[in-house]
Structure formats: structure tokens, C-alpha cells
Symmetry: C2
Subunit: 315 residues, 2 copies
């Protein structure tokens, strides 16, 4: 029985292997991915993002258990641009995985930064697709930080939850971090700390204009994930957002948006591959660099020549 | 007199116009950029990054004044993935610019997220190049957050300073954020707050292994930017790192690395342009999406066909 056969019979180890294939960019990937794609599309993807230390992991784990308890299978992807020099998953992740191991229908995977820009957002999408094809009904994607990769990942989710804490700083900082546009739902976690009411009302104020222009009301929820406060409310709001997305008015737009996001993500990934295989091979790169350092060329000229070589035969 | 002629006579307004051209991707850009490149390469680029609320803006402004007072011209680029729905520069930026306006040789520019992933890192590089060509000797690039774009920008800087605060959380969070690898210098700002000594010694502990393998000692500096504490020390360490990079052992490697970074950045940018013009035009995209939604195709097949069309004529 092949790994993929085992995968489709619900073998958890096969799922883990398929995800490793995706991360390692194994040779069979071009055959594998379309098969996974064909079986995917049923899962609901929830992205949780926010600054480090906001308590996202706890929130994600507690949400996973709520979904588990309401008879949903759950996949968790913890996107973790961790250090190569610590070598792999950090202690916190291991403890976390042990805690979740008791829930049979909850599958957790940590993703670390590998290689160059764009790769992480791309493979996160594939891993989510694998979990989806495997049959996990709810996929929770947790990202640290507020960079472009996180924004791209959020864009590929159905519902995006932005998690802040009272001491996240004033709302200008949240605005700066680009978090306001991507959030469907705001969570102020650790809301027993001083300043929680203030940040809730401040975010509500900022959202006023946006609420008027949309038929979604961007709720702001105070939680204390560690003390199980506010989690049911969060669960209900996510469900409400899901109904909003699948309403007659929005369903078609939402489906198109998902396909476009997939298409751009996959094209970006394959182009990077194409560049390093055909356009900027190690040896070509060395020659280009020498020419530029000698003053015989400049990076713009080199790139123009490369693009020209693509263009040539299309006219 | 053309804008570029004015630019090279040191007209500040012309610099601002050239930067706007870069941001707007104006039609003359293909002619403009190689000219800027030819005149650039003298400036020293310092990246400052860290979580929102760490006091990076204050630190950057104070550093800029130190460089100004030691007779260096300074360019500041504040990379600010700010909200499209607030419409442009935030109040804080305006106040800041007014404060710096009294220093004649300090030029500040805010950059906001525009369009898709990768675009921000790309145009930040071009803006830095423009300031470099204009003659600014020190370029300070300030980024919010810890995502891939920020890592890419850091990679294009000569010296990268990671700014944390005592309440940034334990060092595992800093590790998670991918900040440990990119930092040449660590700053613990707001070091009058509780926990500063603890985080300094924790980061020092984490760095021990890395220090042994390199000939740079990754200093950790406690600062209070608002109270002018530790800034001279930071200034000296940046200067020391600059000497380290330009030492006989490292200079050649460092120059090659800069050219490679430029090349990859420009190629990525031009390929994105090429794709949206030739491969994924609005109308092509609509057809692809319909085919995928009908089940006649899937995103992997579509992308394979697009890549194939690049490949075709290269065999």
C-alpha cells in the first residue's frame, strides 16, 4: 500500500509523511499535489495571528479542544519562523504536542522557515491542503508576527482572528502592523490585565468606519485563554463568520477568491523553482556577480537580459 | 533641467520625486534605476527591526541626530505596513518628520505596503539605492515586525540591529520570531523597565554558541532611547561592525553578498511584473478560475502550463 493509499484510509502516520514530503519538496510532489487538491476544499480554515507573547498557542489549543468536543476533526499548523541554529522544534512545541496527543482527531504540525522568501507561505498552504484532503474539518493556522508572509497566510484563510493583549501598545501600533485590514475578528487576550477595556474600546472606535462599509460587524472579543474566559464567544463568532461567508451573497465571491489565492501562491512557488533551476543557477549567478563587480554590467541589465530571454519567443 | 539632473545637484525635492517614481512604478523607471545604481554603493545601510512598540522610531531618530552631528548625511526609511483604510502616513509619522525637519542633511521617508507580497522589500531596496546615489552616507531602515519581508530587508543591510524591550517576553519568543539569526547587534531598549537585566543575560546565553563560531561578538546593548542612555555605545558598536565588514577577510565576501541580494531582489520584482503583464493578466486569470471552478482544471495544472510556456523555447 502506498503512502497516499494509507493517507486516504485515514492513517495518521501517512499524513505526517505526506506533510514531510511537502516540506522537503520531494520528487513525487508534482504527482502528489494535484491528487491532494482534488480531495480538498471541505475544510474551514481559521488563521490566528498577532505579536509574539499574545498567547496565541494557548488560544489555538483551547479552540481545537472545543472543535474536538463538538465532533470536528482538527488540524493545527503552527507557523514558526524558528532559528536554524537551535535546530528544529522548540521545547514549548514539544510540550504542547504532548498535551494535544490525547485528542485523537487533533493533528498538530509545526512549520519552520526554510530557505528564501515566499517559501513558508507557500508550503503552509500545501500543508493546510493536505490536512484538508485527509479529512480534517477545521484547520487552525497560527502565525507569529505581522510580516507579509503572515498577511499572505491570513489571506488564504476563511476567517482571520487577530490576537492582541492589553499591553500590545496603543492601537496606532496595531494599525502600523497591518493587522487591522486582515482581521475578521479581534481578540484581546489576557484581558484580566490592566488596559483591556481601553484597547477594546479603542479598536471598536477604529473599526467604526469599516463596519459601516461592510455587512460584517468585525467583533472585538475579550478573552483569557488560560482561564477559559471568552472562548465560547470566540467560537460562536467564528461560526457566525463562516455562515456570513457561505451566504448566498458571498459564497461565489469567496470561492473565486480562494482559487485566485491558490493560483498566485502556486505560481509564485513554481517560479522561484524555475528561477533557481534555469535562470539563476549557481554558475550563472557567479558569472553575473563577477560582471557586476567588474563594472561590465549592473543588476538591472542582467535582469533585463534574463526577462528578455523569457520574452523572446512569445512575440 | 530634468528631475535627475536636479537630483544629482543635491535638490532635496528631486530626491523626493525620484522616490515617488519608484513607489508608483512610473514609466521612466527602467531608464532611471540603472543610473541610480551606477552612482550608488557608497552608503552604509543600517537596519533596525523588532516588535511593534519597542521604541524603534525614537532610536532611529536619535541615531540619525548622532550621525548628523558627526557630519554624516542621513537617510531614514520607515517601512510601515500601514493601513490602506487610514489612508497614508499616520499622525505619529507627521510629528516625527516635523521634529527631524530642522536637520538639513537628514531625509526621512515612510514606505507603506502596496500591492502583493515581495513588493515592499523590493521597493525599499530601490529607495535605499536612491538615497545612496543622492549622497546620503548613512541609511537607517526601520521595519516593524518579524516577517519574511523584514528578514529580506535586513539581509540587504550592512548592519542589522534587533531591538527588543524587557517585556518582549522570554527569549524563546525572540527565537521564534527569527530575529536571532539576522541580528548583528542586539538592543534592549526601555532598559529602565523591570526584567531588562534578565533579558540581556538570557540573550547573551543564547548567543554563546554563535559567538564561538564567528569572528564577530554580537554585542547586546541596554538603551533608553528617550533618555539618551546607551546610544553612544550603540553608535560605537555599529561602527565596529562596519570595520569588521570592511576588513580584508570579509570585504570581498560582503561585496558579493550585496550584489547577489540586489540581483535576487530585482529579478523577483521584474518577474512579478512580467507575470501580471504576460502570464496572469486579468482576462487570463478569469478564464483559469472558471476552468478550476468547473473542475476542468486545477491550479497545479494551470501553473504547469504557464511554466511550460516559459520553458518551451529554451530547449
Amino acid at each position: 500500500m502506498s503512502v497516499l493509499d494509507k493517507f486516504f484510509t485515514g492513517d495518521k502516520l501517512a499524513l505526517a509523511k505526506v506533510i514531510s514530503h511537502i516540506e522537503d519538496k520531494g520528487g513525487q510532489l508534482p504527482q502528489l499535489l494535484p491528487k491532494l487538491y482534488a480531495e480538498s476544499g471541505q475544510a474551514f480554515r481559521i488563521g490566528l495571528t498577532g505579536p509574539p507573547g499574545a498567547g496565541k498557542s494557548t488560544l489555538v489549543d483551547k479552540l481545537a479542544i472545543i472543535y474536538h468536543d463538538t465532533d470536528n476533526s482538527v488540524g493545527i499548523i503552527a507557523v514558526d519562523p524558528s532559528s536554524p541554529f537551535t535546530g528544529g522544534a522548540l521545547l514549548g512545541d514539544r510540550i504542547r504536542m504532548q498535551n494535544l496527543a490525547q485528542y485523537d482527531n487533533v493533528f498538530i504540525r509545526s512549520m519552520a522557515t526554510r530557505g528564501s522568501s515566499g517559501g513558508l507561505a507557500a508550503s503552509t498552504g500545501e500543508v493546510a491542503m493536505a490536512m484538508d484532503a485527509y479529512g480534517q474539518e477545521i484547520i487552525l493556522i497560527e502565525t507569529v508576527g505581522v510580516g507579509q508572509v503572515e498577511l499572505d497566510i491570513a489571506d488564504s484563510c476563511d476567517t482571520t482572528v487577530v490576537v492582541l493583549v492589553p499591553e500590545s501598545g496603543d492601537s496606532i501600533q496595531a494599525l502600523k502592523a497591518g493587522l487591522m485590514e486582515i482581521a475578521d475578528i479581534f481578540v484581546i487576550n489576557k484581558s484580566d490585565r490592566p488596559g483591556a477595556d481601553y484597547i477594546v474600546s479603542e479598536i471598536n472606535m477604529i473599526l467604526e468606519g469599516k463596519r459601516g462599509k461592510n455587512d460584517w460587524d468585525y467583533p472585538v472579543i475579550a478573552t483569557q485563554a488560560l482561564n477559559d474566559v471568552g472562548l465560547d464567544d470566540l467560537y460562536r463568532q467564528i461560526d457566525k463568520h463562516r455562515q456570513h461567508l457561505t451566504s448566498t451573497d458571498n459564497a461565489r465571491w469567496h470561492r473565486r477568491h480562494k482559487v485566485e489565492t491558490d493560483l498566485r501562491r502556486i505560481l509564485g512557488m513554481e517560479l522561484r523553482e524555475y528561477i533557481s533551476k534555469h535562470l539563476l543557477t549557481e554558475s550563472a549567478l557567479n558569472i553575473y556577480i563577477e560582471h557586476i563587480l567588474n563594472g561590465e554590467s549592473n543588476p538591472y541589465q542582467v535582469v533585463a537580459e534574463i526577462i528578455e530571454s523569457l520574452n523572446q519567443d512569445k512575440s
